[in-house]
Symmetry: C2
Subunit: 234 residues, 2 copies
């Protein structure tokens, strides 16, 4: 038999949950009962149960037992990457602005920095077939000695821009997604009318001490660009 015991056991329990033999809140048989029932060692039972815990079908309470989770189908996995979440990858990315500036009040607040601290501002336009389909603006606190490499910045995702002295593993990302009408300058960049519906993604990056290390917004032409997400059960 190619299929490991612990997979068979956890699949068995999973199907009991799927078919409502076991319902949210119900206790699962104890490790000892399962060990006897399937005739395997305790570690094998634990491996099966650990798998279900990781996939959030059940949860363990020390001293009491395992219980079926209240399902949270509201949790989804969203793949977001400003250069490739666009409808088809963009043919070209134009770097229209790259500067070290004093932060505006808004930028200072978002990055939690004093107003003397210079920041790098990057503005890009994403095009497909010659037409602008999205634009973005990013702000990164500037520290002396960090080179500004146009070519690198142009095609990087925001985390890649920031992750220079720290590993990209150390960076946390938070997104706010909303819809907005194009304002004057954005409309001009996207060659659209003012008020055109845009999908906007505000992006915050933090280092491993929760200090902001990047802030920006990407605007995508509404009807041409989509984000996709799916519920993360397996």
């Amino acid at each position: 038999m190619g299929i490991p015991e612990y997979i068979r056991i956890s699949d068995d329990l999973k199907s009991q949950i799927m078919s409502q033999v076991l319902n949210p809140g119900d206790p699962v048989q104890s490790e000892n009962q399962l060990r006897e029932h399937y005739g395997v060692s305790r570690m094998t039972v634990r491996k099966a149960l650990t798998r279900l815990v990781n996939e959030e079908y059940i949860h363990a309470v020390a001293g009491k037992g395992y219980f079926v989770c209240e399902p949270g189908l509201e949790k989804c996995e969203l793949i977001y990457d400003e250069t490739f979440s666009l409808s088809g990858s963009p043919d070209s990315i134009d770097l229209i602005d790259l500067d070290v500036i004093k932060p505006t009040q808004m930028v200072g607040i978002k990055l939690e920095i004093p107003k003397e601290q210079p920041v790098i501002m990057i503005r890009r336009v994403f095009k497909e077939g010659g037409e602008a389909i999205a634009c973005d603006v990013k702000y990164i606190p500037y520290h002396r000695g960090i080179p500004l490499l146009e070519k690198e910045l142009k095609n990087s995702t925001f985390p890649e821009m920031v992750a220079r002295k720290n590993s990209i593993f150390a960076i946390t990302k938070k997104l706010r997604i909303f819809a907005a009408g194009a304002e004057e300058d954005t409309a001009r960049l996207l060659n659209a009318e003012e008020g055109t519906p845009l999908l906007a993604v505000e992006e915050f990056l933090y280092d491993n001490h929760d200090k902001p290390v990047g802030w920006g917004i990407t605007y995508m032409l509404g009807e041409r660009n989509n984000l996709y997400a799916e519920a993360s059960f397996k």
Copy 2:
């Protein structure tokens, strides 16, 4: 010491990855090397490594070893629930339409059903402080014997509406997020002008055989409603 060995070991390796002692693609010490290095049993080492595999810091290749992952910071966790992703929970939900109808061509295609198969249509408006902030429409294939309970449907999330004979664990959800200008009927429901930017979430539900069991769209007034997501490293 309250902290388990396997946590100490995996945290140790994690910090080596964070501080770029280990970089994406690099091999991690083998289980045997780690066992000797930390003076623990192989199972303890494996538990530490399994933890890092689950959190996608490293991955295992049978017969070769463990390697540091190429980080995928584009993966985010999005919490979406049409009744509560709105800015502050809505005070009231109005059920403005509940009917069993023949599917339009669009609905038939989305639900992959023949045009004789009746569907339930549900339309709601979400209000806050008396003002409409969002509206939705859902379609569910109708099967005889399923009661239509107005009160239940009104305050349910889409998966809850569908999960009657199947466990909610058996349902898969896929989302498409985009921006759109309000069309005539939507604008009227939301008491807004035509063309007002809306955040739209198209929702597909599938059963455990990947058969569509629900389709719908929620429109939210753009500037007042946000979706939040964050990168899922721990």
